[in-house]
Subunit: 444 residues, 2 copies
Amino acid sequence: MKSYTVIGGGAAGMSAASRIRKRDPDSSINVFEESGYVSYGPCGIPYFIQGLVNEAEDLVTYTPEFFKKNRRIDVSVKSKVLGIDAGAKSIRALTNGKEITLNYDILVLATGSSPFIPEREWLEAGQVFTVRYIEDAITIKKRLADSKNIGIVGGGYIGIEMAEGFSALGKKVTIMEAMPQIMPNMDADTAALVEKAVIDKGVKIEKGLAVKGIYKGKDRPGVIVETDGGRSFFDGVILSMGVKPNTDLARTAGLKLGSTKAIAVDDHMLTSDPSIFAAGDNVEIRSLITGGPVYVPLAPEANKEGYVAGTNATGGNLAFPGTVGSSITKFYDMEIGGVGLTEKAARAAGMNVRSVTIEGENMAGYYPGGSEIKIKLVYLAESKVIVGAQALGRGAWGRISALSVAIQAKFNLNDLFFSGIPYAPPFSPVWDSVIIAARVGKES
Amino acid sequence: MKSYTVIGGGAAGMSAASRIRKRDPDSSINVFEESGYVSYGPCGIPYFIQGLVNEAEDLVTYTPEFFKKNRRIDVSVKSKVLGIDAGAKSIRALTNGKEITLNYDILVLATGSSPFIPEREWLEAGQVFTVRYIEDAITIKKRLADSKNIGIVGGGYIGIEMAEGFSALGKKVTIMEAMPQIMPNMDADTAALVEKAVIDKGVKIEKGLAVKGIYKGKDRPGVIVETDGGRSFFDGVILSMGVKPNTDLARTAGLKLGSTKAIAVDDHMLTSDPSIFAAGDNVEIRSLITGGPVYVPLAPEANKEGYVAGTNATGGNLAFPGTVGSSITKFYDMEIGGVGLTEKAARAAGMNVRSVTIEGENMAGYYPGGSEIKIKLVYLAESKVIVGAQALGRGAWGRISALSVAIQAKFNLNDLFFSGIPYAPPFSPVWDSVIIAARVGKES
C-alpha cells in the first residue's frame, strides 16, 4: 500500500488527492492545510464582501469531513508542515498542537501562493488586509462593515473586484496603482476603457504613484497610505498587489526553482526530486504561445495541474501541455477578459506583432438589450498567427473562450475569420466582433 | 471597367457586392432582388412577431439607397431575374414593370433558399404562412394579431422560435413535427430536454405525425391541419419545415448541382461556369469534419461565402475552407446550441463514435443566478477527436463558440481538457462543463 502526502488543500492539492484516490483505491492519502478550510474558492471572496454570497463557508466546495468520508482522504486543517526531508522521504508537521513526522512514498507539493506584501509592517497598521483565505473574507467583512472609505493598493483583477464589492455597498473606494494604468496585464488602450468604467461608478483611481508606507492613523482609527503624491487616510486598506509562489518548503527539500522563482516541474508535474510532484500556484509552467516558462497562478490551471500530478503520482502518463493564460473578470456589467500575450508583452519579448482593435455589438443591432463589445487581437506580423486577445463588454467571456481555443490551436487570422462562432440575434450580430476583428486584421 | 451582376440581395449577395466594390472601385455593380428589401435579417422575424423588435424594417441593416449612395451599388428591388444566358453572358430581368437584358463580365448567384412546402395548395388555405422575407413578417404580424390558436408545422429552429414568439403573446401554440422528436438536428436525448422546456411553457407538441393536408376552415375562418392523428383547427398556421436551395436560375445557366441538390462550387465559390460565382443558401459547401459536401443554409456562412465570392470575382485568391455548422437559438431562457455532427448523424455516416453527456452549472455554485447547463460531446472512438457537440442552458452560446473552434482545429478530448476556458465565479465553475465533459470522456 502506497503512502501519499499532499501539502496544501487548495485547488491543486485536493484535485491531486482526489485523482490519487481514484487511481489507487488502497493507498493512504494525507493532506495538510495551514488554514481552516480546504477546497475553497478565493475567487469568490469579493462577491461575499459585496453580499452576493451569504456565508464565507459557501465558498468551500467540500469539507474535510466530505473528503474523509467519501474519498477516504485524511485531511488535517490548521496544520503546518515545517520541513521536508527528501532523503528520508518524510515530512515534519505541526498538527493538533503536536509535532509529527510522516513518511511518504510520493509527495505532492501544492503550497500555493501568498499575496505580495512589500513590507510586513504594513499589516501591523491594523485594518490592512489581503484577500486569500476564507479567514480573510470573514475578517474583512466584519472589520470593514462600518467603514466608509476604502483604499485598494493594486488595480489588477482582485483590486477591481474588491472595488466593485465595496462600492456596491455604498463605500467610497480609491484604487492606488503604482503602474501608469490599472489592469497591468492588459494593454494601455484596453485598460483605459476599464478605468473609464471604474471611474464612472464613482471609484477613484490614483495611478503611477507607488506606495511608500502604510501607517496606523494617529488622531483617529484607520490607516494612512503614503505615496509620492502625499498621504491619504482610509478606514481600511486592501493589499492586492499580486501573488508570489510559496516555495519555502520546496527549498527545504532542495528542489530546483525555475526562472520565474516558482518550482520547476516537467510536463508531468514532477519536480527535480523523483518522489515529489508539485502543482498549483507554486509551480512554473510552460506557455503554449512562447514555449517558455511562465508563472500563471490561476484556479483552472491549478486544478488541472493537480489532476496531472495525481495521475502521474499513481503511475500514469499524462502531460500538462501548458497554458494560454486565459482570464476573465467583471466590473459591474463590464466583462473584462484576456488571453495570451498583450501587445506590450509580445513586443517586450522581441516578437514582431501587430494588433487590431474593433468595437462591435454583442447582439444583433435590432435585438433589445444589446451593448458594445471591444475586441483586440495581437498577432504575428508575418504569419498572422494570433498570440493574444483582449475583450471588454458583455459577452466577453464567450469570445475569450473561443479565442483561447483558437490561440491554443495556433490559428491565424484567416482560420479565425472562418471559425464557426454561432449566430442568433440574442447572442451576436451575424458578423460577430471576433470575426470582424479577424477580417480587419486580414485586410490590413 | 468591369461589369458585375449579383442576383439576390440577402446576406450573401450584399456581402459579395460590397466586397466587389471595395476591391474594384471603378466597376459597375447591379444587384437584383425579388423582395422589397435587401440586407435583411430573417433570423430576427420571430422577435418582431413577439414584439421585441418594433418595426419589421428594423431587421434591415442597410437600404438600397444606402448601397447606392455609399457604395455605388445599383440595387433593384422587386425585380425578378427571368433567366441567364451563360453563353452570351447576360441575364433577363423584370424590373420596374419592364423586361431588360443586361450583360455581365462576372455573375454572382445569391438566390438563397425557399421554405420547403410539400404542397403548394396548403398556402391557399389562407392564414398559412412561411417565415422568410420581411414581407412575411409584416403579413404574419397583421393577420395573426387577433388569433388565439396557432399551429406550427415543423419543430426545428424557426419552429421553436416562432413558438416562443406566439406563446409570449399569450396565444395557444401547437408544434406539429413529423419526426419522433422536435429539433431533428439534435440527438434524441438533448432534444428531449428542449421538448420539456417547450411543454413547460404551455406549448403543445405533437410528434411523429406527418401532416397530410391543410385546408381552409369550413364553418368558421381559420385552418384545418390533418395528420395521421386526426384533424386540428387553428386560427393561423406557420410552415417551418426547413428550406431548399433556389436553383431554378442556376439550371437555366446550365450550372452543375451537387449531391445535396444545391449549386456545386469549388472552394473559391466558383460554379461550373468560369464567369459565375455562387454564394449563400443556394450553394453546397464542404464539411470541415467529414470533408464531404453539406448544405448549411446559415447566415454567417452566407456572409462569408459572399465575401469569398466577391474577393475571387475581383481577381483575388481566397478559399472558403468549409464549415463546422454551428448553430444557436433559444427558447425563453434556454439557450440551445449545436455544432458538427450529432451522434445519430455520425453513426448514420458510418463513423465509429462515442459520446459523453454531462450536466454542469453555468456559474460557480455559490454565485447567485446560476442555472444548469448540459453538454454533449460526440467523438471518434479511437482517436477521441471531437466531431460534434450540443449544449443546452444559459451560457450555451459561449460553450458552443469554444467548441466550434475546437472542432475546426480537430481537437481531441485531451486537447479540449487542457483548453483555456476562462474562469470567474459569475461566468463558470472552476471546472467548466466543457472541461468536465472532456475529462469524463477521456477517462471512460
